[in-house]
Amino acid sequence: MARALSLITLRRLAIATVAVLAAGYALAFFYAPEDADQGFIQKIFYLHVPLATVALLGFMVAAVHAIRHLQTGDPIHDARAYVSIHISVIFGLAVLLTGAIWAKGSWGIWWEWNEPTLVSFLIVFLLYATYYPLRYAVEDRDRQARYASVFAITAGAFVPLNFLAVRLAEPLIHPRTFSSAGGLPGSMLFAFLVCLAGMALLWVTLIWFELDAKRASGDLGRIRRALEATA
């Protein structure tokens, strides 16, 4: 298993990401049928929902890294938590923007308070956006990492609760949801799952990329400090 994992490199991951995403969207546009109720605008579903799912899972992953950071004190877990939240926030921004476009195309308005997923996402995004000023406001590096981890855990516990609460806030009649009622026909489901897999791969690729860049910066800092120390 370990040897199989070591075969994964950033380059191979990136290639796999592109391949799966391309396949997924080809399926979405050429294989999956057009939605009977919503028409062509429903194709945004294959972009918006995978982005949202992966972003939310990303926040959960960050919480797990944060727990491990508090347990071990190893800064590598804090770095992973930070990067997970960072990439998920960017995905979250994409969710909000694509959601607004979907709303405009479906209902003619740029925002719909009665769409529970979109509203929940806004709240989650607003919460995680405070991660950056939080880290910025604490100077001591160890303390900053610890506080950030507590935040990541708290926010991670918050996400599912928030989705539940917003759904409960819906008026019992006339909720306006993007997704049509009932299950997806097989071809749509298949296309969706491939797109979801592609987005998940994209997320992992970007995480890996960010961590590599961070490590390179860190190593450079160490070299510089070592050289300056002897000067």
């Binding site: 508090l70 000023p133 604490v138 981890s149 507590v150 708290t154 516990a157 609760l161 409960l168």
Partner: protein
């Protein structure tokens, strides 16, 4: 257990003696009611407007309390004392959260009757609303204490605490306002989804008390 009681007693005694936060919070709430009277151009409220005005006002007054939760420790170096004392740090969390609940109850004892006086036609829905507010107070105390601790040790603490806390409190607002909308309805209180809101509040309280209990230690390490 003894540490918890001692810390709580100290906080309450200091507050009663100096009255640093409570009068200001009550005054803030009443003044905010006046602002709403003019902002909404209404002299009587019911249903979702009444619920919204009351919950929003209590929420922002609560933020004042959260911001001031650790002010005594900051000014008098109390944190170092607590770090050295042989008590379980979780007891500090429990003590601070309990103090916050008590402050919020005191605030509501003043603010809610005045709100009823200003805006409500009948006080019928207020007792069940009190139960809702109590549960919401506990949830607010749990997350508020956590975030207040984080903010206290950082720069820009007055801005940071509300910024992080407000999104976290949205489920509480949803539950409290949702219940209030029906309890303060013009035709008399309606208990339609009362159980749902109680359950949501209970879930929120349990989850964040647990998170606070599990992570508070890590905030006080130096």
């Amino acid at each position: 257990m003894r540490g918890f009681a001692a810390l709580l007693r100290k906080d309450l005694r200091v507050e009663l003696r100096t009255l640093r936060s409570l009068p200001a919070m009550a005054l803030f709430a009443v003044t905010t009611f006046v602002i709403f009277r003019f902002g909404l151009d209404r002299t009587s409220l019911d249903g979702e407007l009444a619920s919204g005005v009351l919950i929003a006002t209590l929420l922002f007054a609560a933020l004042l309390a959260v911001n001031r939760l650790f002010v005594a420790e900051r000014e008098e170096g109390g944190f170092d004392l607590i770090r050295l004392a042989p008590i379980d740090r979780t007891q500090l969390f429990a003590a601070k959260a309990s103090a916050l609940v008590i402050y919020l109850l005191a605030l509501e004892l003043v603010a809610v009757p005045i709100f009823a006086l200003f805006f409500l036609d009948s006080a019928e829905g207020l007792l069940p609303l009190a139960l809702i507010l109590l549960l919401a107070n506990v949830g607010l105390a749990a997350t508020g204490t956590l975030i207040s601790t984080i903010a206290t040790m950082s720069s820009a603490r007055d801005l940071l605490a509300p910024l992080i806390l407000l999104p976290l409190l949205v489920p509480l607002v949803i539950a409290a306002a949702g219940a209030g909308e029906h309890l303060l309805a013009s035709g008399g209180p309606d208990y339609g989804r009362f159980g749902t809101w109680l359950a949501l509040l209970g879930l929120y309280d349990s989850i964040f008390l647990l998170v606070g209990y599990a992570t508070f230690d890590f905030l006080l390490e130096d």
